[in-house]
Amino acid sequence: MSFLEVQHLRKSFPSPEGGESLVVDLERFSLESESLCGMKGESGSGKTTFLHLLAGILKPDNGSIILNGRDISQLSEGARDRLRAESVGYVFQSFNLLQGFTCLENVLLATSFAGQANKTWAKELLDRVGLSRRTNYYPRQLSVGQQQRVAVARALANRPQLVLADEPTGNLDPKNSHKALSLLKELCRENGSSLLLVSHDEKVIESFENQFTWEELNQAPSSAAEE
């Protein structure tokens, strides 16, 4: 059995016109342990919803998501919170750093909910992403590229088994984009984490050995505006 196994996954949302709008309809998806995988998809096609389902942020209408032998779709909300705290790292397109907290505190917070806060490890991570001199800076005092590097460090802080990255280079220029991507891959390899990165950018996806398109997987009659 693969590290991550998804079967018969369906998720719909209430549509403004009434009724339900099917956003995710996926028969089967799997991810091997420690594999790095890129998934291409158009904006608004349901990729983020898929990642939210994998992270346990959303609960599917149907189907199973088995992560390391546990079916996330059957877990209570509290258990899914704990799962995220302990086993999942998430990188957002817009970084989503907490503005009232320093870089170091942002990284430490990611470990605190699993009860694993470790200042030395958080500093090591910031050092690893080249921000050892900026640990006490607030996000607003950093460049966009530096903010994304903090976000990468934060996603790896709880030593997750699965890292989900949602358009992590979407707001970066090509140079910073390349840097952030390399760093993310390197850190996942070092940590033994599996990475699933989604992007609409072909160049980003082409840098992965394992790559596929969301449209191949998702059978929902979908389209961008439906989310």
């Binding site: 904006s43 608004g44 942020i57 919170d81 503005q99 430490l108 806060a117 609409h200």
Partner: protein, 424 residues
Amino acid sequence: MFRSRFTVIALLAWRGLKQHAFSSFVAVFTISMAGGLFLGTWKIKEETQKAFTNSSGGFNGVLGARGSKLQLILNAIFHMEASPGNLPWEQYELIRDNRGVKEAYPIAVGDNYHGYRLVGTLPDLFQQHEWKAGRKYEVKGGGRIFSENAKEALVGNFAARKLGFSIGSKFHPYHGLDFDETKRHEETYVVVGILEPTGTPSDKVIWVPIKGIQHMEDHDPAAADSVSAVLLVLRTAAGFQLDMKYNKQGNQATLAWPVAATLASFFDRLSWFEDILALVAFFVALVGSLIIFATLRTVMNEKKREYAILRCLGASRLVVTCVVLAQSLFLSFSGLAGSFLAYGGIGFTAARLIREQTGVVMDPLSLVSPGPKNPNDTFWTTVEPFLPLLTLVLGIFLIGFVSGLLPALQAYRSSLSENLSPKS
């Protein structure tokens, strides 16, 4: 700091408020004012009443002209208000010689020096009378009590300080109880002594021989053989008899006895004022509560995404809810601390004003005033002195809890996925 759930919640709450420092400050300030007003209205009234009752200078009765007992007491003991009239000297002698009267001292008023009253009396008052059990008046080193027939003054401690008097200072009295520089008497008085402080109204009086007031230039010669009032220490049984004699059967004088009961009924009559202040405090507290509510709603709305990020990092709904509730409790308990500061400010100002106006010294910092232990004390009598404090603490806790409840519920119910705003 990040190891315990409790400290993480506290940190998140604190940083959230720090980002809305101004609104948070306004909320804390409003709660502080409400709490300070509440404590102020409750405790200052109680302390004032206690201070006044304990400041009757060791007298339990006053004999004066026919009229209001309260006016008599305020004029003769607290040196406030106008004198209700005069009594013939014979009335003083008559009551002095009554077997039920332990002590009797005549006083005469009618002059001032820069607003501080000149009160004429006999030197015996300072030689024999105990203004508090076991405490007689003491004259500061180098001074003495005035002589009965000289133009000499013994000055209360507070008045001496305010007027800059020292032994040997000379002054001209002014006619009337209120200062009017056109009404200066030609007589010159010399300060021969300054009293040690007593914390009673006598501290703000310039004491002179009674004959001095009676025979002051420009005073009505008909008043030369009269007194404004007689300060009394009565034996309890005699109090009832004399009350009957002067107040119920006679029509020439009024006996205000017992002084404490008259003062208590005066304070009871002021309870409407206390009610109004309590109402003001209630409305200020309501405004404070609404400000906390509005602040937390604003914080909540602005932080929806931040809370969603925390949820994404693994924080449970309960953690996020606790952060909002902690913010609300933090604001309200900061308000509680501010209440004590505000109460201190109000208390000191009130104590200073009361001291200046009446000479009565009250303790502005006394928050609880338990009486001496008594074997018959019930649970209620033990708890009662702490009631204002308990009400304040519980009230502010309630304000914090209730005003934080709705935003906390909003945080609890907010959708994680929606607030992360999926874009693709």
